[in-house]
Symmetry: C2
C-alpha cells in the first residue's frame, strides 16, 4: 500500500502576524499599496522566510486590503508557494470564493513587485483579479537575481486584456530594483528552482 500525503498547509511567516496587525483596512493610493508590497518583499528575504517577492490583493476602488502574500518556497518545501499564489489563495479563502471577479464582487487588483513568473501569470488569469499592478517588467529581475522566470507570452498585456485584466506598470520601479539588488548582496548562494540542471 502506498503511503501518500493527502493534504498540505501553507502559511505566512510569523513576523507577518504583527505586520498585519498594524495595517489599516484601506490603502487608497496605488503607490502606497506598492510601498507595502516592497516592504513585505524586503522583510521576507531579510527574515530568511523566503525570496524577495511579495504580492497583495486589494479592492481596486476602495483600496481595501483583502490579502497579502510572500514567497514561501524554501521555508515550506513547496515550489508553487510563490507570493502571488499565496496572496490569491488567501484572498479567495478570506472571501469564500474561487473567482475574485465573480458576479456581485467589487473589482480586485493583484499588486506584485514585478511581472509574475510563467506560473503566476497563469494563476492571475484564473484568479478573477481585474487589474495587475506591477513595479516593472523586463530583464532586470533575472539579471540581478539569476532567477528563471520561465516563458511568458511576448504579448502578455494583450493576453491579459483579452481576459478582462488591465495592467498598471512602473509603479515605484526603482524601489523594486533596489529590493533585488539588496537580495543579491545579502545572498552568497544563489537559489535555483532546479538544483541539478
Amino acid at each position: 500500500m502506498a503511503n501518500l500525503s493527502m493534504n498540505f498547509y501553507l502559511d505566512l511567516p510569523e513576523w507577518a502576524t504583527e505586520f498585519v496587525s498594524k495595517l489599516p483596512e484601506h490603502i487608497p493610493s496605488i503607490e502606497d499599496r506598492m510601498r507595502l508590497i516592497h516592504d513585505l518583499a524586503n522583510l521576507n528575504f531579510r527574515s530568511n522566510t523566503g525570496g524577495p517577492f511579495a504580492a497583495g490583493v486589494f479592492e481596486s476602488e476602495s483600496g481595501r486590503i483583502v490579502s497579502i502574500g510572500v514567497n514561501r518556497v524554501m521555508s515550506r518545501n513547496c515550489s508553487s508557494a510563490h507570493a502571488e499564489i499565496m496572496a490569491i489563495s488567501l484572498a479567495q479563502k478570506n472571501l469564500g470564493v474561487y473567482d475574485l471577479g465573480g458576479n456581485g464582487m467589487p473589482k480586485h487588483d493583484l499588486v506584485v513587485n514585478w511581472l509574475p513568473c510563467a506560473m503566476c501569470f497563469g494563476a492571475l488569469l484564473w484568479s478573477g483579479c481585474k487589474r495587475l499592478v506591477i513595479a516593472g517588467n523586463g530583464p532586470e529581475l533575472e539579471e540581478i537575481t539569476t532567477f528563471d522566470e520561465g516563458p511568458r507570452p511576448e504579448n502578455w498585456e494583450e493576453e491579459l486584456r483579452k481576459r478582462g485584466i488591465e495592467t498598471l506598470n512602473n509603479i515605484l520601479r526603482h524601489e523594486a530594483i533596489a529590493t533585488f539588488e539588496g537580495f543579491r548582496q545579502a545572498n552568497k548562494i544563489v537559489y535555483n528552482a532546479r538544483q541539478s540542471t
Copy 2:
C-alpha cells in the same frame, strides 16, 4: 486593522483515502500509471469533488507512487488548486523537498491527463520533475470542455527540454478524450474560471 487570512489548507477528496489504500507502492508500466490518472479524473468529476483533471508524481524508473492530485478549485474555493499543483505540492511535502530534481533524488515523472494549462506548465518548470507524461495535447480539451487553458509557449516541448524536462505524449489519448466527453455530458452548467468576463 485589517482582518486577513494568514494560512490555507488544501486536501484531496474523502474518496481518495480509500482509493489510495488500495494502490500498490509501484506501478511499473507507463500505461498503467496513466490509467490510474484517468480513473482519478473520472472519479473526481463524477463525485462532484472537482473538474475532470488528475495528476500524479512517480519515480520514473521504479514507478513508485509519490503523490496523486485532482482538481479542487470549486470545492475548496481556490483557483490555483489544479491537479498538477496538488500533486506537486503533495509530493514535495511527502519527500520534504522543494525540488523533486535536487541532488541525490531519483528522476520523477509528472503524469497528467492532458497538457497542463498556462499556470501548471509553469508549476512543472519549478517542480524538479524531469519528465512530463501526458495523454495528449491539442484543441480537443478546450473544444469539448470549453475550459480556457491560457497562453502556453508554441514551442512548449523545447522550453521544457531547455530546462532538462523530457516529454512523453499520447499515452492513452483516446481515454482522455472520453473523460472530457463524459464530463461535458454530465454537466449542464459549463464552469468558467472567470464568471463575469
